[in-house]
């Protein structure tokens, strides 16, 4: 608890400075500000710690804090302490660009970890690109981003959605229905489902997209029933959309049509909802809290020790955040400097380490991670791992993204159907 307070205090002092920037910046000569800046290494964190996305965002910010504390406890990097400068974007898109500009122009940070939704990533990615600050997006997403300045440590559809679809085709049937959040993540992931279904000889019989504040799913539940799929894939994001699962159950659909999801469980659903709602929904992630390895267990222990009752549910998102920071730290050590080119070169040198989710390596060509993924389902508020897939390649760009060979590439590859 005291750690948390300290963090808040630290953030506030930083912000107090920035809030009065217009005035105080007048007074402080430029060289003085530069001098202050060089004492610590600055790690920028930009995350939705409050608001409807906070169930995902807050643990990620906590993990960032944990990782930075660990690094500092081990002596910091290059003999300097790491200062975490954190902004809460309050689940509001406008604040992303505002705070990203603040990180880039005022705080002049050395690296940024953060961004939760794909929308937020696309909003801030160009800002850090222009400011030449390496950017880590540590959230599982729709895949395909190919940008020399950006590193994505979360899992992608080529590592998870394909397994969900295979599972469905094998166990349930050839027809599926997709429910997705109405933004690029939901749209592109749905295209992936279409592609994988077609490849496996099945089809998507319907897809509905919802704004993030959608709460009433009754008309969709009717539509699903009239389309009669063999299973439903949900790509629903945020607190409001989790209401679907309860409406699904109370409409009596739970026992009729099985659900698969690559998002369910990321916002602590297995603890906040009745087990009758959650049990049996099949998911696929790069990590589950129940994974029985020493690294995984110690990660959970460390988090629980540091944040106690303030910690609400853990997921792959936290592990990939941790991975992102560790890769960056490894690269800084290897480069021996914070110079962007040196750090990028080190990041592209084929780094790997054993994280809570197992062995992970950073793919130099795509700037994504090669890692194990797992199929799992909730049972009595615990995750049951059903299957393990080792060494999953982030092949979402179909081999077209090779940043080693073509560093000027900057686009997002999407599935071709």
């Amino acid at each position: 608890m005291s750690d948390h307070n300290q963090k808040l205090f630290g953030r506030r002092t930083v912000l107090k400075f920035s809030a009065t920037a217009a005035i105080s910046a007048l007074a402080a000569p430029a060289y003085l500000r530069q001098a202050l800046a060089s004492e610590t290494i600055k790690l920028g964190c930009i995350m939705d710690e409050t608001g409807p996305l906070s169930l995902e965002g807050k643990p990620m910010a906590q993990t960032t804090k944990l990782a930075v504390d660990e690094l500092n406890a081990a002596g910091g990097l290059l003999g300097r302490q790491i200062e975490m400068i954190s902004y809460d974007t309050q689940s509001t898109m406008q604040l992303y660009t505002q705070y990203a500009q603040r990180l880039a122009l005022q705080d002049k940070v050395d690296v940024v970890h953060g961004g939760l939704t794909s929308a937020s990533r696309e909003a801030i990615r160009p800002i850090f690109g222009r400011a030449r600050i390496p950017y880590f997006y540590n959230t599982l997403y729709e895949g395909g981003v190919c940008d020399r300045n950006t590193f994505c440590t979360g899992t992608t559809p080529a590592q998870t959605v394909n397994h969900l679809v295979e599972h469905g085709l094998k166990n349930w049937g050839k027809k599926t229905y997709v429910l997705a959040a109405d933004y690029n993540f939901g749209q592109i992931t749905t295209d992936w489902v279409r592609k994988f279904m077609a490849a496996g000889g099945g089809s998507v019989v319907g897809a509905d997209f919802f704004p993030l504040d959608a709460t009433n799913f009754s008309s969709t539940i009717s539509r699903i029933q009239s389309a009669a799929p063999d299973f439903v894939v949900t790509v629903l994001v945020g607190g409001a959309q989790t209401g679907f699962y309860q409406q699904w159950e109370s409409a009596g659909m739970k026992s009729k049509i099985p659900l698969a999801s690559n998002v369910f469980g990321l916002s602590n659903e297995i603890n906040s909802m009745p087990t009758s709602t959650t049990d049996g929904i099949v998911t696929c992630y790069g990590w589950y809290p129940g994974i029985d390895t020493p690294a995984s267990k110690s990660f959970v222990e460390k988090m629980e020790k540091q944040f106690g009752s303030d910690l609400t549910g853990m997921s792959e998102l936290d592990v990939t955040t941790y991975d992102g920071i560790m890769f960056w730290a490894q690269a800084v050590k290897k480069a021996g400097s914070l110079d962007r080119e040196a750090v990028l070169a080190a990041l592209e040198s084929g780094l790997s380490y054993d994280g809570p989710g197992g062995a992970v390596s950073l793919d130099p060509a795509t700037h994504h991670t090669i890692r194990s993924t797992y199929l799992g389902q909730p049972k009595d508020r615990k995750w049951q791992v059903m299957e393990t897939f080792a060494h999953q390649i982030p092949s979402d760009s179909g081999g077209q993204c090779d940043l080693k060979a073509n560093p000027r590439l900057n686009k997002q590859f999407t599935p071709v159907i």
Binding site: P52, T220, S222, Q225, G239, Q246, E249, S250, A251, S272
Partner: protein, 288 residues
Amino acid sequence: MDLAGLIAFNVVTGIAMLCLITIGLGVIYGMMRIINLAHGELMMLGAFTCVIATEAGINIWISIFVLSPLVVGIIGLVLERTIIRFLYGRILDTMLATWGISIGLTGLIVTIFGNNVRTLANPAPSFGIGEYSTSLYGLVVVAVAVGALGSLFALLRFTKFGLILRATMERPGMAAALGIKPDTVYMATFALGSALAGMAGAVLAPISGVSPVMGVAYITRAFITVLGGGAAIVTGTGLASMLFGTIDELVSFKASPVIGSVAMLMTAVVLIRILPTGITGRFLRRSL
């Protein structure tokens, strides 16, 4: 055939939801000519009351039908006494003030409880229509909506309080002539409208989830239904809900919920343009 039954059920539920959302706003607008932009937040407070009460172990039905209306009714009373009563007769100022209340209440609840969505377990089982199935809770919503409209009608038609309300509605001086302060009537009306909003929020909580910002989703719908319905509270709310609810549900089923909602709003804009005094401003003028 079964599918048609399911869709019909959804349409009826949709209409009932719209009725519930609207009725509290309708009472306040119909009687006092105040457009209460904090209506959605009063619903939100009702939903929060219900969630907190059930989390404290109180029976969900008691929370919905007793606690939520009571708590929000009292909040409405306080708001009326401290803010609204100074603004009678200034329609735009009341809109601004209630908007301020709306933003402030959202901010207050965010500050206290955080901007998160809470869920309330659905207390009703599911039932089948042929090979399709749906939640029985829809029937609860329909029953509550019918009950609320019915009791409001009875209140206006058969009680002395209803007579006074109608008199005040026709002409503010009338109440004074009957020996009642219009002030008191307005106070009671605002509290009644708030209580109805609180109950609506609580009834819908198991379906929609509960969050501090949920009010925004309701206010536009309630708003257009009241204005679309016109002066007669019960008939107007009922008719406008039927029109808008049917459009919303059918288009939602055919296209998507967003298009459904857009279609409904467009219909409302056109309706208000054609009938500025609402459906009952033009037809069925003598109704309640």
